[in-house]
């Protein structure tokens, strides 16, 4: 295969990943690394480099649309970014220290967890109970409801949320992913923020978190321009097309199919890295 065909196939695969990621709400970034390592035999360091860049592109590319909806909370996002960026520095540093197989196994586990989290039924609990720390840090807001009224909310269990966000940051830096699934858990499970606020604020945070790993990735030579180019352009195009399409009716089926795909890739990554193929 020549370089032109290789680039075109990478572009089309990444476009499909970005499209599926946007339509299912799981994000395209999480499948880029397994697709590159399993299907295209790319070393995981190059793969996480290409993935990290794609994650920054989709996060920033989707930001304008999320702002329009008015659900994201910049203060909560900014406060928690202290945790995710510091975590990302640690995660990116770990990529230079831990063996390749270990990165692969952790990646597999995160894939399995992401699939599980996306299929699990969601019980939303919104509260505006006065939490002293959250109020002092202004971690509160109002959720616009469809009928013009608003639902006030206040963040709870701030230290737990902050701790989980540090973990999300470590995983983001270690695996070159957005860790959207862990970020959403920190916000809607630990801090009891409304689901819409969690997902949109998480998207905003993903780009900043990923940028914190980018410096070390660059200096460690993980960014191979000719490989990143088709992947980043493909994921970006796919996610923009995906977020523009409104195919609500089929989302549930799509989510199940995509989750099964993610589970298969997760198992493959754990198995192949454990037996050291």
């Amino acid at each position: 295969m020549n370089e032109l065909w290789f680039s075109l196939i990478l572009f089309v695969s990444s476009l499909a990943a970005g499209l599926l990621g946007a339509l299912s709400g799981l994000g395209g970034g999480v499948v880029i690394v397994p697709v590159l390592t399993i299907l295209f035999h790319v070393d995981i360091h190059y793969a996480i480099g290409a993935s990290l860049v794609s994650v920054i592109a989709t996060s920033s590319g989707a930001a304008a649309a999320y702002v329009r909806e008015g659900f994201s909370n910049i203060r909560i996002g900014m406060f928690l970014e202290i945790a995710t960026t510091l975590g990302a520095l640690v995660g990116a540093w770990l990529t230079t220290k831990v063996p390749t197989q270990a990165i692969g196994i952790v990646f597999g586990v995160v894939l399995l967890y992401s699939a599980y989290a996306s299929l699990k039924a969601k019980h939303e609990v919104i509260t505006d109970k006065a939490d002293a720390l959250a109020l002092r840090l202004k971690l509160k807001g109002t959720l616009p409801l469809g009928d013009g009224s608003v639902q006030p909310y206040v963040g709870q269990r701030v230290p737990a949320g902050f701790g989980l966000m540090s973990m999300a940051g470590v995983l983001s830096g270690l695996l070159g992913i957005g860790s959207g699934a862990v970020k959403v858990i920190a916000m809607d499970q630990a801090m009891l923020l409304p689901f819409k606020v969690s997902t949109t604020t998480s998207n905003f945070m993903i780009g900043v978190t990923a940028a914190a790993s980018a410096g070390l990735y660059l200096r460690s030579g993980y960014l191979a321009p000719a490989l990143v180019m088709p992947v980043m352009l493909g994921v970006l195009a796919g996610s923009l097309i995906g977020s523009g399409l409104l195919v609500r009716a089929r989302v549930r089926t799509l989510k199940i199919v995509f989750s099964l795909l993610i589970i298969a890739m997760g198992v493959e990554m754990i198995v192949s890295n454990t037996i050291g193929r």
Binding site: N2, E3, L4, F6, S7, H41, V42, D43, I44, V53, I56, A57, S59, S60, G61, A63, A64, A65, V67, R68, G70, S72, N73, I74, R75, M78, F79, E81, I82, T85, L89, A92, T100, L137, K138, G141, T142, G207, V208, A210, A211, A212, S213, A214, G215, L216, L218, R219, S220, G221, Y222, L223, A224, P225, A226, V228, M229, M232, L233, L236
Partner: protein
Amino acid sequence: MSWTDKRIETWVGVMLRTGVMLAAAIVLTGGVLYLAQHGGQPRTDYRVFHPEPWRFASLKGAVTGIATGDPRSIIMFGLLVLIATPVARVGMCIAGFLFERDRMYVAVSSIVLAVLLYSLFLHK
């Protein structure tokens, strides 16, 4: 959310989108030139990791590379523009919080910006 918060977010959203589109256009330009020159050669083997050379790993390297006409340096320059967009986002939030006289969040955003700048420029 206050009216000014909404306005900060709108600016930020527009800035991010512009940055990403600019970065994508630069990467695409570099990619087309790269494939025009190297498209016919056998695909690069990425099975074994060899750190990318310095000329693809820094702003200075990318700019020097563009001067020598290497399309991969153009791609790298586009990637650096992309990496800069979230950093600029945090910078804009600092400006917005300053405007709102929210000292605590000027401090919070400044910490985040400091971590990002440390990561990009100082960290070894």
